[in-house]
């Protein structure tokens, strides 16, 4: 299912300087009951965002209107834990198109790229610089350039390059997903599968 193409994203960012943010925090299990992919953004970080009585927790960053933007900047080991893709949907549905961290859990990274979110892994030092830039000015913009594979703090001009596998990059830039690709090689797969042991 194609999504919007991702090329260059210039945006303010929302800082979440917490390490090991796991997918149970991103979207608690009780919100996985839906049979449609709708409305997950409302429950993004539900238990950090809202009290038990559904009133917002004012000290949580998503409830602080000075921060906004299409980029979420998280602490190290972002997206660990359960493989639920709902975590990526919640992030996408909320309006983020890119997550920056100094380390991502594997499954989360895969799930994200597959639905059109770009995970950008930077060094610990650069992550710190990003957090400092946002702290100094919540309106500070980042530029994520996928074709060039760079992320830049526009206020200071500091920049770092990031890795992405060429295939995923090609898909993101064109708004394709894996299934589009696999559908195109259907016959090759059937032939292989029919010869396989199981």
């Amino acid at each position: 299912m194609a999504y919007d193409k991702f090329t260059v994203l210039k945006s303010t960012a929302v800082p979440l300087p917490i390490e090991n943010v796991d997918t149970d925090q991103i979207i608690p299990a009780r919100f996985l009951k839906a049979t449609k992919r709708e409305g997950f953004g409302d429950n993004l970080f539900r238990d950090w965002r809202y009290n038990g009585d559904d009133t917002p927790k004012t000290d949580f960053v998503l409830n602080n209107s000075i921060y906004s933007g299409k980029i979420l900047v998280g602490g190290k080991n972002f997206g660990s834990g359960s493989s639920r893709e709902h975590a990526a949907w919640a992030i996408y549905d909320y309006g983020f198109r890119c997550v920056v961290s100094s380390f991502f859990a594997d499954i989360f990274k895969n799930n994200s790229m597959n639905i059109g979110i770009l995970p950008v892994q930077v060094s610990d030092a650069f992550l710190h610089k990003i957090f400092s830039a946002i702290e100094a000015d919540p309106n500070a913009e980042l530029e994520v350039n996928l074709p060039e594979q760079t992320v830049t703090i526009l206020a200071t001009g500091e920049s770092e390059s990031f890795d992405i596998n060429g295939y995923k990059k090609h898909n993101l830039v064109n708004g394709f997903d894996d299934i589009d690709y696999l559908q195109a090689m259907r016959e090759e797969i059937v032939a292989f599968a029919q010869k396989s042991r199981y």
């Binding site: 608690p28 493989s83 859990a105 594997d106 799930n111 894996d178 696999l182 797969i189 599968a193 199981y198």
Partner: protein
């Protein structure tokens, strides 16, 4: 004849690569696909939107487990959302001709329990499911791992997923294990050493005498938790123990097909001299019964030890403090003697017959502590039947426990089995994340023996003090 020494992982992986995309992932053939009610509905919806059918319906198996009640399964499911998911699974599988063991079916149970139990899981297979503990099937020498919902759709549509080949790690544990130390303790010990992210990017092979002498149930417990050290999955080479377990199970090969399969299975091991990207070695004699004190499975310790201080570990200090605060614990205090409120034995980690035997071995002749609420949840109807046949049921009832019906239950607390906020639960499941077992719940992961010791004493207790 002599080719380059190869790892078990490479042998299985390479046999499944349909196409190797340049600077991209491999197009990787999946032999068996398990689906359940929670992560499949959106995938089927995606197929419908694309107007694509299921490529090989006979290679996918469905069971309902994640969001099912563990009492009164014969009655209509109360929660409308759960009922909706169960109905969607039933309709989708019927429409596409996929085998479905729904609620009430005698074969129903937790996906990673029923797969092996029915001989669906066989050595050398590639297996995926929209649940991260799919790594369980690695116990049979399979490459098995959890996938997201897009990938569920992908496998339904094409029997393949896109997968870059992970790096290889071997974890060797040798030496004599002490009494009262189980497979769960071995894996919690490894995770405590490697940390919850220590194997990220790797696929693990477990090797050494400790795993060789383990039962299939124990091997499944170990492989199940591979994901909790960040690994994509973990596997153990099949051997006589594996073959004996499989033989005679419903979907296992028979006759000539069995002989052929066996000949192939015997080739599934890492050759002498094959190399890994990294290896770790541990001594089985060093391991004692384990328990976790924090909010990720890497925060585990020997049960007689003291909770470490932030200085002792190289994780983030702020996260460590936050974690202890959530748990209501302090640095440098013992876990032994801590009062607990709930005990949960079950899940795909420790919901097999051997786990209930272990639990019963301590409970027998004792009584459940009054301050403890216990949920004893078999992994499948087959396990439940065994519990009754072997007399474990009577031991449980005698000691004041009740037996629930199979399902994931408090492992992820999607159904009504939620630990209340602030309460302490000793759980044999696999995750102790904040809120995993219910909002505000505090989870202590441990083996069935430690869970039993806690259930009868009402506090964290070294099970070795209760073993005759």
């Amino acid at each position: 004849m002599s080719s380059k020494p190869t790892t078990l992982f490479d042998k299985v992986w390479d046999a499944h690569v349909v196409r190797d995309i340049q600077d991209g992932p491999d197009v990787f053939l999946i032999d068996r696909h398990f689906i359940h009610e929670v992560t499949s509905p959106v995938a089927f919806l995606g197929l419908k939107n694309r107007n694509v059918s299921v490529m090989f319906p006979e290679r996918t198996f469905a069971t309902a487990d994640h969001n099912t009640p563990t009492i009164n399964q014969h009655l209509p499911v109360q929660d409308p959302l759960s009922a909706n998911q169960l109905k969607a699974l039933e309709e989708n599988t019927a429409k596409h001709g996929i085998s479905h063991w729904g609620l009430g079916n005698p074969k129903n149970g937790i996906v990673h329990v029923v797969g092996p139990e029915n001989g669906i899981t066989l050595p050398g297979m590639t297996i995926v499911c929209g649940d991260s503990h799919t790594s369980t099937h690695g116990a049979f020498g399979c490459i098995a791992f959890g996938i997201g919902t897009s990938e569920v759709e992908m496998v339904l549509a094409s029997q393949c997923i896109m997968q870059p080949k992970p790096k290889k790690m071997r974890i060797n544990v040798n030496g004599e294990m002490h009494k009262g130390v189980t497979a769960k303790d071995v894996v919690l010990y490894i995770i405590s050493k490697l940390t919850a992210a220590g194997a990220t990017g790797y696929f693990v092979e477990y090797a050494g005498s400790v795993f060789e002498s383990m039962s299939m149930e124990g091997r499944m417990t170990v492989c199940n938790m591979s994901i909790e050290m960040g690994a994509r999955g973990g596997m153990i080479a099949p051997d006589e123990t594996t073959f004996n377990y499989i033989k005679g199970r419903e979907k296992a090969p028979t006759g000539q097909a069995w002989d052929d399969a066996l000949a192939y299975w015997k080739t599934l091991k890492t050759d002498e001299g094959a190399s890994f990207d990294i290896e770790h070695n541990y001594d089985g004699a060093e391991i004692e019964p384990m328990i976790t004190y924090g909010t990720n499975p890497g925060m585990g310790m020997g049960i007689t030890e003291l909770i470490p201080s932030a200085e002792d570990i190289d994780a983030g200090k702020a996260s460590f403090a936050k974690s202890l605060q959530y748990m209501g614990f302090h640095e440098k205090e013992p876990m032994l003697g801590k009062k607990i409120d709930y005990v949960f034995i079950g899940s795909c980690t420790n919901g097999r017959i051997e786990d209930f035997r272990a639990f019963a071995s301590i409970v027998k002749g004792r009584k459940k502590a009054d301050n403890v609420t216990a949920w004893v949840v078999p992994g499948s109807h087959v396990v439940e039947a065994q519990i009754r046949e072997e007399g474990i049921y009577d031991i449980l009832i005698e000691a004041g426990f009740e037996l629930r019906q199979p399902g994931c239950s408090a492992c992820l607390a999607m159904n009504d089995d939620k630990i209340p906020a602030g309460k302490y639960a000793v759980s044999t499941s696999n995750r102790n994340f904040e809120g995993r077992q219910g909002p505000g719940a505090r989870t202590l992961l441990a083996s069935p023996l430690v869970a039993a010791a806690a259930a009868v004493t009402g506090q964290v207790t070294d099970p070795r003090t209760l073993i005759a």
